[in-house]
């Protein structure tokens, strides 16, 4: 049984100007202790996907369309009661956010906030609760935790605040950690530290990790599997190394072309032209075709399906475990069946 199994997740938001189909039929699998990275530009539906898993889309759980399915260890989360959802949030699935500057409540000490999280999800009270707070803060690398827990968020740097957020998320001993752009607001040096911390914690506690980022490089450092999201749909997925070695979808290639690499200095940046269209009116046919450099006529009229590719290396088939799985892509260029790339 996999840890998280998402089938045909559609979250549609009512916005001025119509219905934004921001997450529109996403499939995703995550095994126990596995790591999956979700990559895409702003507006591709990454954050909403994460919030939907917790039953927290901005306008309430009703925005998750019927027929969507989110199974956590086999338990269906779509349509489950509020009480059960609250137990799951923080206790089973925890989430950390992009802005460590504003994710902590400015009027309470850091210790109080971690302690509240501890109090909610464990039976540790009083002295034991305080010790747990110190332990958690120490675990995420806050120096001198028993003194610093009396400080307020504004006395912490961005990286330290993100560590506190991680401590709060770990308080409930979750089995799945969702990290929504956890390092985007941080310095590059701090970014590496926080990523290391997340990865190290994930390995040590055996948690599943869903890492959301707009940055392929971030995700490739941490995640075994990669899911590329565009316009509310998965356009490519597969083991990170394989996807990066031979990206099949033009959008994935575009993402790779729009980042700088230290290794190949001579390569120039090739940004993807244009931007993600409005979620109220996705283009007909393939949703990427207006920005695609390799468009063929069929892209304009019909949308390709997300189809499995033929295994790139048949002899490694046995090693493809439940955490990595098969490669899939959604593109006409890969042929009618998807396999003939």
């Amino acid at each position: 049984m996999s840890l998280l199994e998402i089938r045909n997740l559609r979250t549609h938001l009512a916005v001025p100007g119509g219905i934004a189909r921001a997450v529109d039929g996403v499939d995703l699998d995550l095994g126990e202790g596995g790591t999956v990275g979700v990559v895409g530009e702003s507006g591709s539906g990454k954050t909403l996907l994460a919030l939907s898993i917790l039953g927290l889309p901005p306008g309430g759980p009703d925005q998750i369309i019927d027929g969507s399915s989110i199974r956590y260890r086999g338990e269906e989360l779509v349509g489950v009661g509020n009480k059960r959802l609250r137990e799951i949030r923080g206790g089973e699935i925890a989430m950390i956010f992009q802005e460590p500057m504003t994710s902590l409540n400015p009027v309470f000490t850091v210790g109080d906030q971690v302690r509240e999280s501890v109090g909610l999800h464990t039976s540790l009270r009083g002295r034991a609760g305080k010790e747990e707070v110190v332990r958690l803060l120490g675990e995420v690398g806050i120096p001198d935790p028993s003194a610093r827990m009396r400080d307020y968020p504004h006395q912490f740097s961005g990286g330290m605040r993100q560590r506190v957020m991680i401590a709060m998320a770990l308080a409930g001993k979750p089995s799945l950690l969702i990290a929504d752009e956890p390092t985007t607001a941080l310095d590059v040096t701090i970014e590496a530290q926080i990523l290391d911390l997340i990865k190290e914690t994930q390995t040590r506690l055996g948690m599943g990790l869903l890492l959301i980022s707009h940055d392929l490089r971030t995700v490739s450092k941490v995640c075994e599997r990669l899911v590329v999201l565009y316009a509310g749909r998965v356009v490519e997925s597969g083991p990170t190394a394989e996807v990066l070695a031979s990206p099949k979808h033009p959008y994935t290639r575009g993402l790779m072309g729009s980042r700088l690499s230290m290794d190949d200095r001579r390569k120039s940046l090739r940004p993807i032209p244009g931007e993600v269209p409005e979620a109220t009116s996705w283009p007909r046919g393939c949703r990427f075709h207006p920005r695609c450099g390799e468009m063929i006529p069929r892209c304009r009229t019909r949308e390709p399906d997300l189809l499995p590719l033929e295994a790139a290396a048949p002899d490694s088939g046995g090693a493809v475990g439940p955490t990595t799985g098969v490669r899939k892509a959604r593109c006409w260029l890969l042929g009618e069946t998807g396999g003939g790339a």
């Binding site: 999800h121 504004h154 709060m168």
Partner: protein, 380 residues
């Protein structure tokens, strides 16, 4: 050395360290209470068997004295031990307090308010006469005690019943100052709660609460209060407090609703939800504490407002009935003598002005201190 000075004269060690603000206020408190206690020694001892007000005054005296002494001692000690570090109070409120302190007028207002309430509590020891002592009407009374101008004996003169105006102002402070505090206390609780619920839940509940706010705000305040008081005439203290609170809560509700509306979009709210906190807990434990700052501003201004409204009500003869006096009632009683015996209405009027001014100064000071755009409180 400094420690021993502090035992005799609390505040002096702080003053010697050039912490003028702390030092003078503690020293003044200590000396003032000591003078009161020694010069009115007979009344203090008598207060042990006295009524509620006497006992409250006694308690205030002792708490004040011991508090000043204890604080000075502890502050002095922590100063010696933790040299070079901040021993306490480096919290989120720190910046606000620093900004507030730089605003001299606001600090002056706070000083006036604290003094007023201290005087109010100590009234039984301070007042030279009983508030209802009509010397001219006593058996064998002296008829020349009526309408005396200010003198050494009656520093604010006497009124048409030969009552001492100064003593009546001291006793009247009880009604005037506590009405303001109680009315704002109720309206902050009620308005804050309703505003928070309206802002957080939104939708139909928000609509209902905010329309109620609109309806109450559509009436002129004084008219609304007069109607409520007239219905329950003769009005008790309780009715007047409730009437005042009823006209004030919509302002609190509106303010808190606005705060909550913006706070609930902040990321820490989302983080709290993602960690599984219940809606009630998020609203009351996470959001509302963030709205306390602005609420204090409205509350401080509201107390001044309530004092004026009560005075207006008393001036119209609709104020607290019975034996109680209040500043507004004293102005009302002195209106016929305003031109010749000016002291009867003028001194209570000045007391009202002083109290309201002090609350407004503090309110403005708090607003400036809490406003990040002003970089923390530019003084006037």
């Amino acid at each position: 050395m400094g420690r021993w000075i502090g035992l005799v004269l609390p505040g002096l060690p702080q003053l010697l360290r050039r912490e003028a603000f702390k030092g003078t206020s503690v020293l003044l408190l200590w000396l003032g209470l000591l003078v009161v206690g020694l010069t009115r020694f007979d009344r203090v001892t008598a207060a042990f068997d006295g009524g509620l007000h006497d006992r409250v005054a006694l308690l205030t005296l002792f708490i004040g004295l011991i508090g000043a002494w204890w604080w000075s001692f502890r502050d002095d000690r922590s100063h010696r031990i933790g040299r070079g570090e901040v021993p306490y109070g480096s919290g989120a409120g720190q910046g606000v307090w620093e900004a507030f302190r730089r605003n001299r007028m606001a600090v002056l207002g706070l000083g006036i308010i604290l003094t007023l309430y201290l005087v109010m509590l100590l009234t039984p020891f301070l007042a030279p006469f009983e508030p209802e002592l009509r010397e001219a009407y006593q058996p064998g009374g002296d008829a020349s005690r009526i309408l005396n101008p200010p003198s050494v004996r009656n520093i604010m003169g006497t009124d048409q019943y030969s009552q001492d105006v100064f003593s009546r102002i001291l006793y009247g402070a009880r009604i005037s100052l506590s009405i303001g505090l109680l009315a704002v206390g109720i309206s902050v609780t009620l308005g804050g709660l309703l505003g928070a619920i309206a802002g957080y839940l939104g939708g139909r509940i928000d609509w209902v609460i905010m329309r109620a706010v609109d309806v109450v705000m559509a009436f002129p305040k004084l008219v609304l209060i007069i109607v409520i008081v007239a219905v329950f005439f003769p009005a008790s203290l309780f009715v007047i407090v409730v009437a005042l609170a009823f006209t004030q809560w919509p302002f609190m509700a509106r303010m808190v609703r606005g705060e909550i509306l913006s706070l609930k979009e902040r990321e820490f709210t989302e983080a709290a939800r993602a960690l599984g906190f219940s809606r009630r807990r998020i609203l009351f434990r996470h959001l509302l504490p963030n709205a306390v700052g602005p609420l204090t501003v409205v509350a401080a201004l509201g107390i001044g407002n309530a004092i004026v409204l009560e005075a207006g009500l008393s001036f119209l003869g609709l104020g607290v009935q019975g034996g109680h006096t209040s500043w507004g009632k004293m102005v009302f009683e002195g209106r016929d003598f305003l031109l010749d015996e000016w002291w009867i209405a003028t001194f209570p009027g000045l007391a009202i002005v002083l109290a309201v001014l002090a609350f407004n100064l503090v309110g403005d000071g708090l607003r400036d201190a809490l406003d990040p755009r002003q970089g923390g409180g530019a003084g006037p």
